[in-house]
Symmetry: C2
Subunit: 298 residues, 2 copies
């Protein structure tokens, strides 16, 4: 089996790395903070001190980092993956970053004989833990075929979208829909409550019709119990919407709906809710409404 | 079996009435334009000339009409249901109208000994034809129980949401989510295309993740084949969003996301697309983008 190196053990990365271990891949891990590294070492992974040494001991290097600059510096910067790589290595990026950064990294690695795939994921911490993520892949077909068994250890819907960067474009598109659903969910729950109708009954009533979505299937139960921890952090949702709006600007596309949603997630960060789940955008609407979603009687 | 009268044989009403016939209910129908009436008479229904006479020959009268004023005049106006009703009759409204109008009609009918349920539906023309609608019901529990077998002939997810008007509130909430999904779908399809990525591949990639929804499951295939006919008319979507925004105004709730979507559906009507499907709101975005969603090569 290919030796895998995994860099970036955040909320998503740690669960994905664990699923690779469970699938019996020899695994080397690296992360800035050491807690997650120790956990995975206890479960059978090797630790490496920097991205370069991860690359030196791996056939396939995977990154899962917050933003475009982080991936660029971990791969192309000093002590980065590019310094430890050799021809025939495969690079996969599970991060959600700008399509243009993915393309730039792929070009640089190609010069070193390394194939690169952008492979951002969707499905939240639940999907990462349960190995049911949607994986959106950009890059060459032969690299996609080589990576397929690895993707099968992390997710369920695995799609080769197109050339380098196409996975990131698909993820940007994904986040357009997710942001819209999160905001709409917040608005409709408060509309029900303010109209004197139980939001729980409303969710039951509408889940089986045209409004059906993953968001309504998964999130209301958590909100009704007062649970607003991530899941998927508001800060990351806002970052992803930055990518969406930058990508749309670059290709000359107005996105009036997404623009409004983007502003609400920005407000969420400014209101001190950056570490909450993206479904907690209802918190911004609660402030606007002067009324909070009621939790069930204790 | 209860004798049913069905008033309003539009895109949804005709299919629902047909399913009641198939479930062997004795059926009397009325509609302003006569074509649909003749179709259903050929299939075994009786025709009636006005709402009053529908009520006279029915135990349960159901309406399915465009807007609040239409239902009010058909039920409470001259020659209306109220003139032909008697104590013990049940009234059900499948229309999507203002919650306050539903409450007003229920109060008036109650004075005549008639129980009333607001029971708007969701699931589009497909759901109406296949009998898989979501039905959101407001009114008393005993009336809900009496109506339940009738609802089972029309739909699949049948929820007693609360008191009179609560079904309409749930439907307003439903349309908040549907409008958000339709706009987001249009934006993401154009974002993919303008970024040089095949929107078909993007839809395949994101359908299995957090973006999953009925809208992405059902609508893109139609759009990709150039099909923008309803389904569910843009004009009705805009009317439903009028109800949402009026209801939100009445309870003092700002809805920033829905407000933006509402404006896009209004633009759709002004651009001459009122008779197209609600998914055709992408047409507004195409004008803004200066580029149309490409259909597959002929």
């Amino acid at each position: 089996m290919e030796r895998i190196g995994y860099i970036g053990l955040g909320l998503m990365g740690k669960s994905i790395a664990r699923n690779l271990l469970r699938a019996s891949y020899p695994l080397t891990v690296h992360n800035r903070s050491r807690g997650s590294v120790r956990e995975l070492v206890d479960e059978g992974a090797q630790a490496a001190n920097e991205p370069r040494s991860v690359a030196e001991s791996s056939d396939v290097v995977i990154t899962n980092l917050p933003d475009s600059d982080d991936v660029e510096s971990v791969v192309l910067g000093p002590g980065g993956v590019v310094e430890g790589c050799r021809a025939g290595m495969l690079f996969i990026d599970n991060s959600t970053i700008k399509p243009e950064t993915s393309r730039k990294i792929a070009e640089r690695l190609e010069q070193a004989g390394v194939e690169a795939l952008d492979a951002p994921v969707s499905g939240g911490d639940i999907g990462a833990r349960e190995g049911t993520l949607a994986i959106m892949v950009g890059g060459r077909s032969d690299a996609f075929r080589r990576a397929f068994p690895i993707f099968e250890a992390m997710g369920k819907t695995i799609t080769h979208v197109g050339e380098s960067g196409a996975g990131q474009v698909a993820k940007a598109c994904n986040q357009v829909m997710v942001a819209a659903q999160m905001v709409a969910m917040g608005e409709l729950l408060l509309l029900a409550q303010k109209s004197g109708v139980d939001p729980r009954r409303v969710v039951e009533a509408i889940r089986g019709g045209s409004a059906q979505c993953w968001t309504l299937d998964v999130k209301p139960k958590r909100l009704f119990s007062g649970e607003r921890s991530p899941g998927f952090k508001a800060e990351m949702m806002h970052k992803d919407l930055n990518i969406v709006m930058d990508t749309a600007r670059a290709c000359g596309l107005p996105l009036p709906g997404t623009a409004a949603n983007h502003q609400l997630f920005r407000a969420m960060l400014q209101m001190g809710m950056r570490d909450l789940d993206n479904s907690a955008v209802i918190g911004v609407l609660e402030v606007l409404a002067g009324e909070s979603l009621r939790e069930p009687d204790a």
